[in-house]
Amino acid sequence: MTTTFDPASLPSLEQQTKTRPWRQRTTKFDVSVAIAVAVPMMIVIGMFLFSDIPGALVLVIYLPLQMFASGCAAVATKGKRGILDSVIIVNAVGASIFTFVIIFSVLWSLVSKGLKALSIPFLTQNSTYISPSTPLEYGGMAHAALGTLIVVAISALIAVPIGIATAIYITEVRGKAVPYVRFFVQSMSGVPSVVAGLFILTTLILTGAINTSAFAGGLAYAVLMLPTVARTAEEVLRLVPDDLRTGALALGSTRARTVLQVVLPAAKTGIVTAIILGIARVIGETAPLLMTSGKNDATVANPFSDPISTLPVSIFENVAQPYPDAVTRAWGAALILMVLVAILFTVARLLGRNKIK
């Protein structure tokens, strides 16, 4: 009887690579890991509860203790060569926990302290006649929130068209200078925010061309926003299939029409994502606004005439004041700012998800 080799009876190559027999875990391994996690944890909890070693020091002791325990488990299951693996895994888990703790701490303190400031007047009034010692019932951040929106809108009006045009140059026009343009955009994304503020200050404000105003702040923000919009839009335009371009050209469309009526509409959601990420990049920047848009306790709607308060500058003004109510105002303004950022990022995420489908 002859046996014939039937390739169809074998699992497909993809399944084969997914099984990875050398990664299968034994019960012995699982038990050792469980013991290696539980024992140091119990020792540390015991030290925390029943000894007078300071809490911070107990945490410092915990890490080497856990590494030692995991090392023992590694030797028991995989021999000496498992020791370094266990050290890496313990520290990697530690780094992840560190990240979670930091994020949780920032968000929790924002919510718990910021909510104390939130009230109807806080969201609807400005700060005229308000000093740092005024109780919380009076005055609010409405003028600063409006200021932030005005400054961000101006910067978006300037930076978004230029940023998208830069991306079109790189992906559609494909001129000779593409590598240089990309390099300059990348270098520009590293310009410190304080330098962007100084640039607008020295070129336009100190020369008397424009006032300290929302417009000046918008220009400084635009310097920071442009590279983010350009880089994200470039990546999005790259995802548009070349078939669409060649198809449009083959039908007799001109270059400009191909870009404006075929490529850009095809990448619409991605372009919106690029705009949102650009706004989110700048919305919390403080240093450039201190130099370009200043502060103003009254509500200002004219973007060219007067200094204008913004949320980051209001936080800056209220931090480190000796009056608890002023500090609570800073937390409240920070909470409003963080909510704005969170909304922007959530919308960007949702749009991005649609794009992939």
Partner: protein, 322 residues
């Protein structure tokens, strides 16, 4: 890639044949050079402010350390600030580089898929927190904690020169400022490193593991060498961010016009960006503003240099892979 060449030629032929297209091309090309114009503008206008400062103070402006406009002749120098920026960035990198390497190794090679995506999102969220909010948090929440850690460092490791503290004041130290910088560097470096490590070909990883490599040997001989350029570039991008950070450092660092060489847990340090913000509000006149603009010029040169180098390294490794 012959296909692309053909298409590019077609596109170029189409571009020159139509008048509307020529206008469109010119407008787009002009907009594409705005970034170059802005960079050149920053260099020229801030540089122009630095020239008279140099004429008056000579190289002492960058080699000495003082900020006294009332003495005669005035003594002003930003060496301590330039050095302070670098010291803070180093402290930040010492914390952030191992953390982001471990984080990206965990995300790419160790964590189950669900946890990995939660972690990725958390790191992105960390990048989204505005620096002014991090500064606020650091001033009120981190400061007391960090003071406790530092006094422990001083008590148990005080014999190491870095951990000496004579004043007994553990607030406003380069350590706290560096810690805040680390929180800002970690998302940048992690996202680059994660991407690079994630691109290691699975065939290589599977081959190494089936030959009996442990996780460490696989990392040491396959994944890390493969992504080396990208990892270095990611670290440099983080460094560029750290050198330019202003507001968060302003909240937690006690600015002193002396050079704090290496006492990272001693109160007081320097940073160019923070100097600019803190002196700008109370500048005594146009000359002091000019001094700050000149300081900004050097900050710009420093960050631009680091960033250009970082981008060159990252793009070069990208090219090698194709």
């Amino acid at each position: 890639m012959a296909n692309v060449d053909l298409e590019q030629r077609d596109l170029q032929a189409a571009a020159t044949s139509h008048r509307g297209d020529r206008v469109f091309n010119r407008a787009i090309t002009a907009a594409a050079f705005v970034s170059l114009i802005v960079l050149a503008g920053i260099a020229i206008f801030l540089g122009a402010q630095a020239v008279p400062v140099f004429q008056q103070l000579g190289f002492g402006f960058v080699t000495s350390t003082a900020w006294d406009l009332n003495s005669d002749p005035i003594s002003v120098g930003i060496f301590g600030m330039l050095y302070g920026s670098v010291l803070l960035a180093i402290v930040g990198l010492v914390i952030a580089v191992p953390a982001s390497l471990l984080l990206s190794i965990f995300i790419v090679f160790i964590a189950p898929k669900k946890l990995a995506s939660i972690l990725t999102n958390s790191v992105d969220l960390m990048a989204a927190i505005p620096s002014v909010i991090l500064g606020l948090w650091a001033f009120y929440i981190l400061n007391p904690q960090a003071a406790e850690w530092q006094s422990l460092l001083h008590d148990y490791l005080g014999w190491i020169p870095f951990f000496q503290n004579e004043s007994g004041n553990f607030l406003g130290t380069p350590f706290i400022a560096g810690f805040i910088l680390a929180i800002m560097i970690i998302p940048i470096t992690t996202s680059v490193t994660r991407e690079v490590l994630g691109r290691t070909p699975p065939e290589l990883i599977n081959a190494a593991e089936s030959l009996g490599c442990s996780l460490w040997t696989m990392l040491r001989y396959v994944a890390l060498p493969y992504g080396r350029g990208g990892i270095v570039g990611g670290i440099m991008l983080g460094l560029g961010r750290a050198l330019g950070e202003t507001i968060a450092v302003f909240f937690v660092l006690k600015l002193v016009y002396d050079t704090n060489w290496y006492h990272v847990i001693e109160s007081g340090g320097g940073s160019v960006a923070t100097l600019i913000v803190s002196r700008f509000g109370e500048a005594s006149g146009p000359f002091e503003v000019q001094l700050l603009l000149a300081a900004g010029f050097f900050l710009f040169l420093m960050t631009l240099g680091v960033n250009m180098l970082a981008n060159l390294i990252v793009s070069r490794t990208g090219r090698l892979k194709k």
